[in-house]
């Protein structure tokens, strides 16, 4: 860990060559560091997500949080931006992948990257983390209770999101999954379904499901916060990133 870091708003080039906002946090120590792209949840690019981004820097990683709603609501408060983006149809999967790719390019340009990158996402970001890891060459990915990686909405459901378990064969890196055993989306059955897909595809994964925890257990400002599960989950994240993001000569 380090107590010397810098965090600031930056501009990066995202999908389609678009100039978008991002929040960058980086250690100020000498050396080269693994990079983490933090994918925010549907409620938006908010204070909680920025705190998480700074936490990664404090633990010795280059961390960047792209504002996925930059195009729809530049400069808006997080809840206004999320509302506008929702009204306009949300974040297309292809655009998400392009923005993550742009974030990785930006981290590379800093000159302090060790060339290893991961994505981490929470809730809708968990699904998007899996999506990015199946679409880009990464060294690690973390899915925190992402709904609709698996599971097909009913035929008459208005849910307009595509399950992406069929992309499992393209997963480029080890996957850490952190889930609440009381969650309904994803449910324990959904988690088993994803695990079976990973086994069939011969992928490296590590899953943990926490009893007494449901959806959103990492978020201190939400009723679903579960401090024991969150503390244990963070330890799993540090162990996982320590194995896959830290260069062997570090």
């Amino acid at each position: 860990m380090t107590d010397s870091l810098r965090a600031e708003t930056v501009r990066i080039t995202g999908h389609g060559g678009d100039d978008i906002e991002a929040y960058l946090a980086q250690p100020l120590d000498e050396g080269h560091f693994g990079g983490v792209v933090v994918i925010h949840h549907m409620p938006g690019y908010d204070e909680g997500m920025k705190e998480i981004t700074r936490r990664f820097a404090a633990h010795g990683y280059l961390a960047i949080l792209p504002n996925l709603y930059s195009r729809e609501a530049p400069g808006a408060s997080p809840d206004d931006a999320a509302a506008i983006a929702r009204a306009l149809g949300g974040v297309p999967d292809e655009r998400l992948v392009g923005d993550v790719q742009g974030a990785i390019r930006f981290l590379t340009s800093l000159g302090t990257s060790n060339g290893r990158f991961a994505t981490i996402g929470y809730c809708s970001g968990g699904r998007q983390s899996f999506l990015a890891a199946c679409s880009l060459p990464l060294q690690a990915a973390v899915d925190c209770y992402g709904a609709f990686v698996v599971g097909t909405p009913p035929p008459d459901s208005p849910v307009k999101i595509r399950p992406i378990v069929d992309m499992t064969k393209d997963l480029s890196c080890p996957l850490l999954g952190l889930f609440g055993a009381d969650d309904k989306y994803p449910s324990p059955e959904h988690v088993v379904e994803l695990e079976e897909a990973l086994k069939r595809a011969g992928k490296t994964y590590e899953f943990h499901s926490y009893q007494g925890a449901g959806h959103g257990f990492f978020s201190p400002e939400r009723p679903g916060y579960r401090p024991e599960a969150a503390k244990e989950g963070w330890q799993r994240i540090w162990g996982f990133f320590g194995r896959y993001l830290v260069a062997s000569d570090a």
């Binding site: 409620p43 506008i84 009204a87 709904a147 609709f148 994803p186 959806h215």
Partner: protein
């Protein structure tokens, strides 16, 4: 979970946002994570004018019981008005 479910409709009227009154063009209704109300999910309504910019938004977040009560109150009010004025 993030529910992704959003009902969107065109509306006509006015709303008062942080910068004053503005004409409404649309509304979205969704059951999803709230930004302020302390619950995992709430019935959220955004009254918007997408042509005006992000400041043109009136937002509410309701627990489901309150949302049903509000919906019922709206319908009863309109029914009463129709009876009075035809």
């Amino acid at each position: 979970m993030c529910t992704y479910q959003t009902e969107k409709l065109e509306v006509s009227g006015s709303g008062k946002g942080p910068e004053g009154w503005f004409p409404l063009s649309s509304a979205t209704v969704y059951f999803d994570h709230p930004s302020h109300y302390l619950a995992e999910h709430s019935l959220n309504i955004d009254f918007l004018n997408l042509d005006d910019g992000v400041q043109s938004r009136v937002a509410v977040e309701l627990d489901p019981v309150s949302a049903r009560g509000l919906a019922q109150a709206i319908l009863e009010t309109l029914q009463t008005v129709e009876q009075l004025f035809g």
